[in-house]
Point group: C2
Chain length 454, copies 2
């Protein structure tokens, strides 16, 4: 529709300025010191929903960070689209590697650099601006509901209860999420699933205090050495995960699925050059797309222990820690894998140390069929604005609430992400291309139109 | 001599107060931010030497932290004792584990708690007060020189040149060091050697930036996982070090030496209880005394990488680091072992990462004979005040400059330490027992007396 494009073009600068204002709020859910920023951000989201044309919007408290809910109901006989997104962001460390402040957005080379630009403020805000566009051009063809949470990056610990307490309010015909990426602007794609997550922290304790490494070294267990040995034991020489039971429930992809997945364009040299590595790493027998899509993985997200400051300290530390997470694929259960991980680290600990391990958070894997009305509407919408049928691919990331959302609301989820893999999600210098932002605002109304027509 | 004891008893409180004043200066040599504190501490040491009766004392600049030199020459025909000590201390992290400020000394249960109390301010200061005692009781029987440096804890990078430039000034008949411990007050001992040290830092780099662990996990090498695998490869299942060439030059202790070493009292249960562990750890085939005395060891002193803050972050980090040090025994060369360690970590790095490794500092192992005039004087001095012949034992720690001191000055070194293994050297809540401090001040004059008489 030309009217949508015209409206977007006329309001281009404001659409950007408003998004930047949202990015300026340091809404880091993992850190208690940002509790007030979280509330401030929720209020800003609520206001943006009302400004865009929602009939009502509210900030709803939870035992953690608040949920923002808004809706624009036009006709009970029309289908309802529930847009899910999150206003919280990942921590920003290591700060020294950012080229500009993570909450001080900078536009450079057609990209906005800021924490949350792609994950997920910039992406859910496309839906807010798409709503405004449809309302002001009198072309909204569905009812629309917004569920924008503040705890996605910490595993959505309070959203499950909120959803199950608010089934009627959240009732919808499809759930639409823009919190993922596409292969490229030239090769648009739609994710057909997200991986699940089990995120644990392991603490290894040797002696009851830090010791002099000369006086005691060689006679008392070093918890860093032991932790390193435990981590090293998790993969074999083929980078296959060795933890007993880890792969038990993995739903094995069919040859057909693997063939489709590998048909997507992939330039290994370009991929390596962009990452600055000369060799890839991964489970033997699988391609890069398979390793990040259909196979579960185990990553060490952080490790620390002993002296980490300037210079040298000859200490034999008392403690060592690691943050460890597994990405799960369909049929694996986050709860079961969490138990397996925790038991593994506890069971292999030698008697010379004690090991504690506990869950940070988890989430189930989720797959969406490509023959649903929702997927077809998304595919047609992307085709309309990009001029190419999007390729269905498996996403490597996780959105913890997906499985529960479908179960509680009995509604399929459609992933229509406009980010790119190199957006530096969860990393310094997170960015979102302005072209993608505007293209998303242009594409979303078509989804509503096609879904209403189907 | 009753006069020494009387003088010490009369000045007990002041002897303590002066030592506490020295402990209040945060002289951490590893941290550039303490450069001014280092100078302040050096000036305080110089003043204390002059106050105690030195004819002259000065603070001498080096390219790093200054050296303090002082002397009291009574008669060129008398023997000269060179006292070596260090006024610098180890870093204090982790600060949260200290029960009181590391530079805010607290007396509790007859112990002074502060960084540097045992290592080495409290110990070298016994020599300053012993000098005062002998001078004021007109009983000094040797010439005495003080070499108190500010870079022991960072490997004495500038002391070698200072010593070789000042051979004449430092000329002595024996070098006396109190920077070690004894088995217990009931079982006094004298160290017959210190271990050498090779301290390196390893940096492992994967991708050129932190990545999203969902998007890239499983397809790009995780530097923490690789570093853990490299560390795990350093020991076999018998906790024997597997690095090729590591043991090549180890001077194997004779059965007689091992027998003597193991004759020293050792209560394994008490040792474990005091450390809060239920099982010891170490190289198979060796006792605890052997593991910390006659065998070289490899410890990870610190490790860090990825997200180490509150909560969870699903990041695949770009970098991981470790601080790693080996303690060396006679005949091993610090330079050679450093090369072996650096080459090992570089050579085992898989092509999916890059590894940098560099030396922090090193020091050669040192052994002193037990039939020298110096050792005999020390043994007799301890016997006089403790009522028991001290047991000769091998110390586990390192004093990097020893080997060079002997070589440049052609003088044997005697280790007469009054600390205890549980003084929490290099750890939170470092302490020095007041009884040991006063006993040291009482014992040292006997060393000078017996050495002069021998």
């Amino acid at each position: 529709m030309q009217a949508w494009k015209d409206y977007r073009d006329k309001n281009k600068d404001r659409f950007l300025e408003e998004m930047l204002d949202l990015l300026r709020i340091p809404s880091i859910s993992a850190k208690t010191e940002h509790k007030a920023d979280m509330l401030k951000c929720a209020e800003a989201v609520k206001k943006s929903l009302l400004d865009a044309g929602c009939d009502k919007a509210e900030v709803i408290s939870t035992p953690g960070h608040p949920v923002v809910y808004g809706e624009k109901m036009i006709d009970a006989s029309k289908p309802t689209v529930l847009v899910y997104g999150h206003y919280d962001v990942q921590p920003v460390e290591p700060l020294a590697l950012w080229h500009s402040g993570p909450f001080d957005p900078v536009i450079k080379d057609g990209k906005v650099f800021a924490r949350g630009s792609a994950d997920d403020k910039g992406q859910f805000y496309m839906h807010v601006k798409a709503l405004e566009t449809m309302v002001n051009t009198h072309s909204l063809s569905t009812n629309i509901k917004f569920l924008i949470e503040g705890e996605e990056e910490i595993g959505s610990p309070n959203l499950g209860k909120f959803v199950s307490d608010n089934k009627e309010r959240l009732k919808a015909d499809v759930i639409l999420i823009s919190d993922s990426s596409m292969l490229s602007m030239e090769n648009p794609s739609l994710d057909t699933g997200v991986r699940g997550l089990s995120y644990i922290e392991v603490e290894v304790t040797g002696a009851n205090r830090d010791l002099h490494s000369g006086t005691y070294g060689g006679a008392v267990a070093n918890p860093i050495t032991i932790l390193a040995q435990m981590i090293a034991s998790c993969h074999d020489e083929n980078n296959h995960i060795t933890i007993p039971g880890f792969y038990d429930d993995v739903s094995v992809a069919t040859d057909k699925e693997r063939e489709l997945l590998n048909a997507a364009p992939f330039d290994e040299k370009e991929y390596m050059d962009e990452l600055g590595v000369t060799k890839l790493w991964g489970e033997k027998g699988y391609t890069t797309y398979e390793r990040t899509g259909i196979r579960p993985t185990l990553e060490i997200n952080g490790i620390w222990g002993g002296y980490t400051g300037e210079g040298a300290k000859t200490v034999l530390p008392s403690k060592a820690y690691a943050k460890i997470s597994a990405r799960l694929v369909p049929n694996q259960s986050s709860e079961k894998i969490t138990d397996i991980l925790i038991n593994y680290f506890k069971s292999i600990a030698p008697a010379s140390v004690t090991v504690e391990a506990e869950l940070h958070h988890g989430g189930e894997p989720y797959m969406t069929p490509i023959d649903s009305k929702g997927y077809k509407a998304a595919s047609k919408a992307v085709e309309t604005t990009f001029g190419k049928t999007p390729i269905p691919v498996r996403g490597g990331g996780s959105i913890p609430i997906c499985s529960l959302l479908e179960k509680e609301l009995n509604t399929k989820i459609i992933f229509m992400g406009f980010g790119l893999d190199n957006d530096n999600l969860h990393s310094p210098n997170e960015k979102y291309n302005l072209e993608n932002y505007y293209k998303g605002i242009e594409t979303i109304p078509y989804f509503h139109k096609y879904f209403a027509e189907s």
